[in-house]
Assembly symmetry: C2
Homo-oligomer: 216 residues x 2
């Protein structure tokens, strides 16, 4: 048995982001691939500065796998995907197809959706990124109307990431996207997602109890 990998996240976050912190992507990948993992924490307080030696933007997650240390959930996901055929095909054409869709989630969809979301929750519901967001979601809808999975005719790490990008309530704010909605339901309906999601909620919930004890 190889040693377990270590996934680093915060020790606590407020209610809002629970279930969406990006350590979930790595928990989920490990669950899909049967890779053993531990979860460890850095403090949410002072997060902007307390782990800059390991994550220069003050974010989580980080991944440790033996001598390999990685930040950026997308990079850690590519690393895990190369360890297991459950996450990425081994043939060069299939691997490339999964890689292109994984990067598309990061750099063609999330590059629009995250700033769009940021402007929206900042009070700009009709912001100048809305047209761009609609265009991207429409292009993706056309793809997902034609196939069940993004790459290689099967579930891959690209679906894990794209579904995680899309599941933040983006779709219903942008009109009818039935193929995309069915896709997100299909991918997040996998048992490995349910396990990762429940474990993240339990992790942050346990910190609530600890906080209550400390202040009792």
């Amino acid at each position: 048995m190889p040693d377990p990998v270590t996934i680093w996240t915060y020790d606590w976050v407020p209610e809002g982001p629970r279930g969406f912190v990006r350590d979930l992507r790595l928990r989920w990948a490990c669950e899909e691939a049967g890779i053993a993992y531990d979860v460890r924490s850095v403090a949410f307080e002072d997060r902007a500065t307390n782990h800059l030696d390991r994550q220069p933007f003050g974010q989580v997650p980080m991944l440790e796998d033996g001598e390999v240390r990685l930040f950026e959930s997308g990079a850690a996901l590519i690393h895990l995907a190369r360890r297991s055929e459950a996450l990425m095909p081994r043939d060069p054409a299939g691997e490339a197809e999964a890689l292109q869709w994984l990067v598309a989630a990061l750099n063609s969809v999330e590059m629009v959706s995250v700033p769009w979301w940021f402007l929206t929750i900042s009070g700009e519901k009709d912001n100048k990124l809305t047209g761009w967001m609609d265009q991207r979601l429409g292009q993706l809808e056309a793809v997902l109307a034609e196939r069940e999975w993004l790459a290689a005719g099967r579930f891959t790490a690209a679906d894990l990431l794209m579904a995680d990008v899309l599941r933040v309530g983006l779709l219903r704010k942008h009109g009818e996207r039935p193929a995309s909605e069915a896709y997100v339901a299909r991918v997040t309906g996998r048992p490995a997602f349910a396990k990762a999601h429940a474990d993240q909620l339990a992790h942050f919930g346990a910190a609530d109890k600890h906080r209550e004890t400390e202040t009792a």
Copy 2:
């Protein structure tokens, strides 16, 4: 000799984006690695729909390498980097470090800089992404003040990509970033960048001449 790879770009673009179209990232990588390549074109006119079978967002570049076909410049760059130690170290720790910084350029820097730029050229000079942009550039400046290259103590594909992300005139709009400016000058001072840049300008310039002939 392996067959040359094929880089696909547009046949023509207006003056503004010349020198910045993302086929440059792949030309530059091939030049660094000594990988033979051809450049082929799809029409700029009707670009939103004329190559959706190969690029679902209507963008360029695409890369062909034997049976492997990839869109997303970041994914194509990772593919090329794995072919050549000139672009990415072969040891697992060094490879992971290059990969994390390559993804950081796509998903922690460009995810802010591209939408920030879009809002700025849309007339919103003081937009709500400005604070986030400043924070990211400040975090990156702290990293680049300490080292010459992002990963593994040497030039890698991560520097190629990060310098390409930063060279769009971002830095001077956000105060003094001397380490970042020196870094961009260092990376884009490489002969492979100059060759790729000149070749892209020549490619689009040749299309100008062709258009003049056609309308003469």
